[in-house]
Symmetry: C2
Subunit: 148 residues, 2 copies
DNA sequence: ATTCTAGTTGCGAATCAGTCGCAACTTCAG
DNA sequence: CTGAAGTTGCGACTGATTCGCAACTAGAAT
């Protein structure tokens, strides 16, 4: 079962710099939160964690920064089947896409990388002549411990 | 390029009846809208269309009915990469799942069925011992006419 | 180091989809 | 035809996200 690996810390900041984007204390805090996250975070969670690093960080800044990171393809936005309220989740975009499976009973999120998934994306590019920017496969169901 | 086919009209109503669920004028209107939809509809659009069939239909009733239909796996809820504001889209769930590709330039939604997609789901069930209830593959990018 | 400006921020108000409680109404089994 | 359970409309409410704007930097140019 291939799992996605974690990233080199400080990478996000470097990537933004490389693209000539201004660095601020607020952004540094938000980027750090996203990079060191152990799980998928909702905007509100990112805000609270970022404020622990820099109390000045404001809600709007979090949303604006997430927008920036999405635009630059540095984070992915996820639904995770709305495991909790509305609102989306965010995670650092890694080199290789992965699949998210959300257990409808215990809420656990399982991540999975698959060559079949990669081929599927190739098929879409080829057969549909569609140029993929972002591909999101989200599955709801029951994890190994919860299905009976 | 295999495309998803449309459904027999009146089918949704029959299916709900078969499950012993009460039929009301409001539900009839909403079901008809969903069944005859030519594209993926947001809740607000479903409301407006249903009100044309029965002026009494209320917003809450639309949401409650969508919830009912989701619970019974008779509609699928989609994101379509937030092509327009927040809010989700709904469509009649057909026998076989399909993939949605949203063009980030012209907004066109392309639907596609794939055996590779079917195998991928099988892989998840097998390799991750995950029991799939709903699987959503949504792709954002550029359609054949918009990519340059 | 100082200056300057475009880019960024905090704030508070606004938006807007979706939810909820409740009393009135309807469905449909008996 | 009746009654209980299920459904509805309404209006108030929530909670995530957005926005306008004046004050505030970052960092390029001097
Ligand atoms: Mn969503
Ligand atoms: Mn579809
Ligand atoms: Zn589980
Ligand atoms: Zn297009």
């Amino acid at each position: 079962m291939p799992f996605p690996q974690t990233e080199i810390p400080g990478r996000l900041q470097a990537e933004l710099a490389a693209r000539g984007i201004r660095m601020t204390e607020q952004r540094r805090a938000i980027l750090k939160v996203i990079e060191t996250a152990k799980k998928h975070l909702a905007a509100g969670q990112i805000l609270r964690k970022a404020q622990r690093l820099n109390a000045a960080v404001d809600r709007s800044t979090v949303y604006r920064t997430l927008e920036l990171l999405k635009r630059h393809r540095m984070v992915d936005e996820l639904d995770l089947m709305h495991m909790d309220g509305d609102g989306h989740y965010y995670e650092r975009k890694l080199a290789r896409d992965h699949i998210h499976m959300a257990c409808l009973r215990c809420g656990k999120i399982t991540e999975f990388m698959s060559e079949i998934f990669d081929s599927l994306k190739q098929q879409l590019e080829r057969d549909c002549r569609f140029s993929i920017v972002v591909a999101r496969l989200e599955v709801g169901g029951y994890c190994s411990e919860c299905r009976h």
